[in-house]
């Protein structure tokens, strides 16, 4: 079975579960909302796929010429055109392309021995997941904690310091933050490895199950591999996480400030409840709802950041694959990556949106 398909099943099953739950148990309003949302997701994926198709096939630039060079052998050139279906009329090509998307057959790569793109992506997607999940945790947990701190001590030195930090971090190019962390913690201090995903020495001893190295080493009890994988993970995850942390910090801060002005907070204060309890138990809980929704919107930024972070840290994920294959002019592979990203982003945003609409009854179309 195609490992990429497996991944999307892993993502699709919970989404489907949530959808079914909402449709079965939900009120008519919720049901209508969920159905509209699903109906909108399909054209969204189609539009993105079409944009990708237009960019790669209709814009000037011939994939065959750019991959073989202007002086390529005419016979090889013809064979390649034939294989890519470039001689077909543009509509037939479009149909073929959409068909291939729905069957998860993304075609064969033009490089690396014509392996199926879906298989290659399936091998690399776990690395990207292993990078973006810890990064998201760093961003959300760190951002919410720091934002609460700043919001509850408004106009204090802490507040100004944290706000300046969030603005500065927003202005930083992701890849530069990566380079600087590499410079300080890997080159100068030597605390963490400069690049890569796992030490090649322990890599051989690790049995691959999910290709998520941290998970694999936990399942098989390979502690040396776990240590190595975690040490390799720290800098890339911190890089990607810190960039997003600033956004979450600002959002949480604003929400905490607003919530702390609510009447029930004043009432709690009047009852003599400790300020810490008010902030962390009462205010934060309500301030967090808009913050959580925001996570769904950030998946796109996370993926874009992953492309740069993976390049800086030679992390063998989908982002680096994309950059590599663009360098090699492998358009089938590029097309595959972009299409898979489109599906991934749409599915996550659907999932977050539906969960949110179940939690908060005010959200309806």
């Amino acid at each position: 079975m195609n490992s990429l398909l497996l991944l999307f099943v892993a993502l699709g099953v919970p989404t489907l579960g949530v959808l079914v739950y909402a449709l079965v148990t939900g009120s008519p309003g919720l049901r209508r909302h969920v159905l509209t949302r699903v109906a909108l997701t399909i054209p969204m994926i189609l539009i993105l796929a079409t944009v990708v198709f237009v960019v790669l096939r209709v814009l000037p630039g011939d994939p065959v010429t750019s991959s073989l060079g202007p002086r390529g052998n005419p016979e090889v050139r013809e064979a390649m055109r034939d294989q890519l279906g470039l001689d077909l009329p543009i509509w037939a090509q479009y149909g073929r392309y959409l068909g291939s998307l729905f069957t998860f057959d993304l075609g064969n790569a033009l490089t690396s021995g014509r392996r199926p793109v879906a298989v290659e992506l399936g091998e690399r997607f776990p690395a990207t997941i292993e990078l973006i999940v810890p990064a998201a945790i760093v961003a959300v947990v760190g951002g919410i904690l720091a934002g609460t701190l700043a919001g509850s001590r408004r106009k204090s030195a802490t507040d100004y310091g944290l706000r300046m930090f969030s603005v500065a971090i927003y202005a930083m190019p992701v890849f530069w933050l990566g380079l600087i962390l590499q410079l300080i913690f890997a080159v100068q201090l030597g605390w963490f490895p400069v690049a890569g995903r796992i030490d090649p020495i322990v890599s051989g001893s690790l049995e691959r199950v999910t290709n998520l190295l941290v998970v694999d080493s936990l399942i098989t009890g390979n502690w040396a591999a776990l240590g190595s994988a975690l040490r390799h993970l720290v800098l890339p995850a911190a890089t990607l996480g810190l960039i997003l942390l600033g956004v979450f910090l600002r959002l949480t801060r604003v929400n905490v400030i607003e919530t702390l002005q609510e009447d029930y907070v004043a009432a709690a204060r009047a009852r003599g409840i400790k300020e810490g309890v008010i902030v962390y138990r009462h205010a934060l809980r309500n301030a967090m709802i808009p913050v959580i929704t925001f996570i769904g919107l950030q998946v796109a930024i996370l993926l874009a950041g992953a492309v740069l972070t993976e390049t800086v840290f030679s992390w063998p994920g989908v982002g680096r694959y994309l950059v590599e294959r663009i360098g090699l002019r492998d358009y089938t592979a590029v097309q595959g990556v972009v299409a898979v990203f489109a599906i991934f982003v749409s599915m996550i945003s659907l999932l977050v949106d539906v969960v949110y609409s179940i939690v908060d009854p005010r959200v309806r179309y």
Partner: protein, 421 residues
């Protein structure tokens, strides 16, 4: 358009506060200064931001005024750390001896020329003499006298037993004070050796000056940032206006398309477009612009929807204004403030995206001095040369920070409601 007069039922305006009356009497420039009083820190953000942006624009337009060296020329030794003086072989002679460069030694009687044994001075001096000879047509034949130590050589120059000597400028400068009258005349090749031949931010692997490349990089960054944002604006704004104003099917289709692009990782889309179009500045601009069209579309459409319902639009319609007239004369001017704010922040975003693209080696032709390209080259040498990855990144951050500060200040002043978008 004085809308108040069209509306007899509007409540009488409250008497103007003092500052507003004052404001009405003064000119635009003084008005901007007076604004300081009621906008506080945001006013300062805008003013400081504007000053820096104007200065940076000047740098971007005329980098040759600011850069000490040619950004693409190999102007110094390779991999020089910031502030580290290049080790140049220099010519020393007695002050007033009339020997200021190797050519002065050419005239006639083959004066003795002092070098220290075991240093590359004699080889470099001969090579320099040959180069000068080829250029001028006269042959310089150096009669070289060898000394065992630098001190002996400088002593000989000081007492006039040789007319000139050569050695490393760093070694000579350390002991030069002990030899009154002996001065450094310049490098053996004839270049001046002054403070500016040391490279403030160091040099890269090719011996290019990091500072000059930073200064020239401002040009590409600003060009890409402003052009991409303007391009996106030029497409997103009219689409948003029309879509929001006409509504209906067109609006729904356009919104869906724009939302789809908006939800997609922008950098990935830009990567794909830049890769297909090939390397040129214009193509980078197009690739980045496409990503930001939905930003303008969404904001303009939202504003249009709101303004469309405003009373003055209804009034205009009731006196028989045509649709395009309403769109152009009543809605468009009211959309401009929010677009102006987004523009500043958007330029910053576009610069970040552009740096990302060129870091990945996409879009820009490699001979253009650019921060992203320099960062990618610096990463290769990260183990040895920390300055190569540090300064171009700081430059990006500084520019983005300034533009963001300007934008945020403007948001606060012009339209506080937009703030948390």
């Amino acid at each position: 358009m004085d809308t108040e007069r069209l509306l007899p039922e509007a409540p009488q305006p409250e008497p103007l506060p003092d500052w507003e009356e004052e404001l009405a009497r003064v000119g635009l420039v003084r008005r901007a200064f007076m604004a300081r009083r009621w906008y506080g820190p945001d006013w300062w953000f805008v003013v400081i931001g504007s000053v820096i942006v104007v200065f940076l624009t000047l740098v971007a337009l005329f980098p040759q005024w600011f850069a000490p060296h040619d950004p693409s020329a190999n102007v110094g030794p390779r991999n020089l750390a910031p502030g580290e003086k290049p080790d140049v072989e220099v010519l020393v002679s007695l002050e007033g001896s009339g020997v200021a460069n190797l050519r002065d030694l050419a005239s006639g009687d083959r004066e003795p020329f002092g070098v220290v044994v075991g240093t590359p001075s004699s080889e470099i001096a001969r090579a320099a003499a040959d180069t000068i000879g080829e250029e001028t047509g006269e042959r310089i034949r150096l009669r070289i006298q060898r000394f065992d130590t630098l001190e002996e050589m400088l002593g000989a120059v000081a007492d006039g037993s040789v007319r000139a000597g050569a050695g490393s400028n760093i070694a000579i400068e350390e002991v030069l004070d002990d030899y009154p009258g002996v001065t450094i005349q310049g490098s053996l090749e004839g270049a001046e050796v002054t403070a500016d031949t040391s490279f403030i931010l160091g040099t890269n692997q090719l011996g290019q000056d990091v500072l000059s490349r930073l200064i020239w990089g401002t040009r590409v960054a600003f060009l890409v940032g402003f052009a991409a944002a303007a391009f996106a604006l030029a497409i997103g704004l009219p689409l948003g206006l029309v879509s929001g104003f006409t509504g209906g099917k067109l609006d729904r289709v356009l919104s869906l398309i724009m939302d789809s692009i908006y939800s997609f990782p922008g950098l990935v889309l830009a990567i794909a477009i830049a890769a297909v179009l090939g390397a040129s500045i214009f193509n980078v601009v197009v690739a980045i612009a496409v990503v930001y069209i939905p930003t303008y579309f969404r904001i303009v459409r939202g504003q249009t929807l709101a303004i469309k319902e405003a009373v003055f639009v209804e009034a205009a319609r009731s006196i028989g204004a045509r649709s395009w007239e309403i769109l152009w004369k009543y809605i468009f001017p009211n959309v401009i403030p929010s677009v102006a704010i987004i523009f500043s922040v958007n330029v910053a975003d576009a610069i970040l995206t552009g740096a990302g693209l060129s870091f990945l080696g996409l879009g820009l032709p490699p001979h253009i001095p650019d921060w992203g390209i320099d960062l990618a080259r610096g990463q290769v040498a990260i183990q040895t040369s920390w300055w190569l990855v540090t300064f171009p990144g700081l430059a990006v951050m500084f520019v983005v920070l300034t533009l963001t500060m300007l934008g945020e200040g403007l948001i606060e002043i012009i339209n506080p409601r937009l703030r948390d978008r």
